[in-house]
């Protein structure tokens, strides 16, 4: 299938999601369940995308798990996105050297 078509669909859907509420709807969502659902969507989605996919993102599941643990600890400490990512990357590098990969 054409890559251009893929990109067009991806960009089109993403844009419409952002654009339609800004142009069409001026009112707040009143439905409690729907509001709650939308509120939880990002957390659910990010969690599902991270695990178990992270286990195959590096040379070894061991380094990936170590990075996940470090990211969680640094993230809990309230550090910013870039700091957390940097710590996780360094962890993978160090652990993989220790494992002799």
């Amino acid at each position: 299938m054409s890559l251009v078509l893929y990109i067009a669909v991806m960009a089109g859907v993403t844009y419409l999601i952002r654009m339609l509420p800004l142009t069409l709807f001026q009112k707040k969502i009143r439905n409690r369940w729907l509001r709650s659902f939308l509120y939880y969507v990002p957390y659910a989605c990010l969690a599902a995308m991270t695990f178990p996919a992270i286990l195959t993102a590096t040379e070894s599941p061991v380094s990936a798990l170590a990075a996940l643990a470090v990211a969680a600890v640094v993230g809990f400490a309230g550090k910013g996105l870039v700091t957390v990512a940097a710590c996780a990357c360094v962890t993978v590098f160090v652990v993989e050297r220790l494992l002799g990969l």
Binding site: M10, A48, E59, G75, A88
Partner: protein, 243 residues
């Protein structure tokens, strides 16, 4: 007007730098999967979204259907609808429909967060300025990552492989610590996600749909057991701001 644009540029600088580093990883991943540097860059320029692109890339590389791709984007990026709804209420009469359509393109998690956090009224020029550096950072970061990919050693590429995931962790972590509801939602999402990946179900459910299913189930559980208090009128918008 010029002052407003510059104020926006200034507020967008940190976002732009952050985007550069994350999209760098996206570029590497895309090239690793077989896409060209140009294609990867085009995806970033036209989509301007981390989680959505990342999931979309999975579908594309697996040669999934356009329907699957559209549905993945719809579910994963559904949060933007909520943010656009919130943002919509901060925009004054200066925001005509064409201007709203322009602003909508760059309503990312971080830009939304900064825009909503601004004390002074939002102007079109400010929002254009705010969006400029993040768009440049995201696009050129992807290109740089895609081009540099071949020059990096396996060890460095492996290490960079967790960058995006750890950013996801960083986004969820603060709420994960504070709210029991988010802990339950995250646990449910991971459970469903593992179930779909590790059992025989993985043969019938592609990775794209697995993300959608996990999200729908977990967010549904959250909404059912921990409905938000409607009295906290702007709570979702503010909490979402962390994204």
């Amino acid at each position: 007007m010029k002052g407003e644009y510059q104020a926006g540029l200034k507020d967008g600088l940190a976002i732009g730098i952050g985007y550069f580093s994350v999209s760098f990883t996206f570029g590497i991943l895309a090239v690793k999967g077989g896409l060209s540097a140009l294609t990867a860059t085009l995806i970033s320029l036209t989509n301007l979204t981390s989680a959505g692109q990342f999931a979309g890339l999975t579908v594309i590389l697996a040669h999934g259907s356009l329907f699957e791709l559209a549905l993945t984007q719809l579910v994963i990026n559904l949060r933007y609808a909520l943010m656009s709804l919130s943002l919509s209420q901060r925009l004054g009469p200066a925001f005509t429909t064409p201007r709203r359509m322009a602003v909508a393109f760059a309503n990312t998690d971080e830009i939304f967060a900064v825009a909503m956090g601004r004390k002074s009224p939002l102007t079109p020029a400010y929002l254009y300025g705010l969006a400029t550096l993040p768009i440049l950072g995201w696009t050129f970061g992807t290109f740089t990552g895609a081009v540099a990919s071949g020059a990096l050693s396996d060890a460095v590429r492996s290490a960079l492989g967790v960058a995006l995931y750890s950013m996801f962790v960083a986004i969820v972590a603060p709420s994960l610590r504070q709210l029991k509801s988010v802990r339950v939602v995250v646990a449910a999402a991971v459970a469903v996600s593992c179930l779909l990946a590790w059992t025989s179900l993985s043969r019938v459910v592609s990775s794209g749909f697995a993300i959608i299913l996990s999200t729908l189930v977990a967010a549904g559980i959250g909404a059912f057991f921990f409905p938000m208090d409607l009295a906290e009128e702007d709570a979702p918008a503010e909490q979402e701001a962390a994204l």
